[in-house]
Symmetry: C2
Subunit: 140 residues, 2 copies
Amino acid sequence: MNIGDAAKATGLSAKTIRYYEGINLVVADRSENGYRNYSDAHIHKLRFVQRARRLGFSIDVCRALLSLYQDRNRASAEVKSIAKKHLGEIEAKIVELQNLQQTLSHLIDHCAGDDRPNCPIMDDLSGEFHDTSADDRKLH
Amino acid sequence: MNIGDAAKATGLSAKTIRYYEGINLVVADRSENGYRNYSDAHIHKLRFVQRARRLGFSIDVCRALLSLYQDRNRASAEVKSIAKKHLGEIEAKIVELQNLQQTLSHLIDHCAGDDRPNCPIMDDLSGEFHDTSADDRKLH
DNA sequence: GCTTGACCTTACTGTAACTAGAAGCTTTAT
DNA sequence: ATAAAGCTTCTAGTTACAGTAAGGTCAAGC
């Protein structure tokens, strides 16, 4: 199986597969003409990596998972621990983004969005706070 | 004001401030000895960028925001549109991460996490599905 | 005058995970 | 025979910096 077919079989691009070989993640055999040659076992590994990457695991973690995958004596506790750590990072990222979301949508809500220059978003960025968080109070 | 003081005044590192100058984002004056020299206006710009970056805007978008900031005739609609686009991207990322979170925590929940090799997380990555989504049904 | 230490300069490298492009083989199809 | 498709390696670009090296500048203390 040449790299093009491997790409089709795994959903990865040929470029990506070459890159994975470059970093010693999944190394193919070579045919006589120098072309990379992929066996079913290679394809299996590549698909494994593709799924792990889709779940957001870093390449380094994929490397560890791949080696656990090939370890008949692995403890599922080890896999679970890696996954849990990754889940924690994802959850932290979600919280971080949700904070940004709140701040941004608040600012957006209070921007007229017309042709005048006055803009609470700019005020916030420039450090002039107009305190829109209590804009329901009575002024004047 | 030298770069060290500018760093303290803005919360950015000197490295970052030099980088911003390198990409023509905020360019300082120079003293006779060749040191960068920051005025209040420079500090203000740097703080503007710092706040925008903290809100997750890319450097390129910061550049656009900075130029809008200095445009007395800007329309707040333009700022709002940039912010809205960014908010959309953040929200998309949140959804993506929440999907990962669901998948991962589901897999983690179904992994014994002991010293045996059997592991639904590995099964999922390798493409062997054991369908834990309906694991409350009676088997056997 | 000399040294020390803090601060500044430029320039180069490394990060993550690829993607794009160039120049040149090999294979396949016409 | 030739063109198209597919393969090879190599280099550079992406984002937003951080780390390090080698060296210039400045104020204080002896």
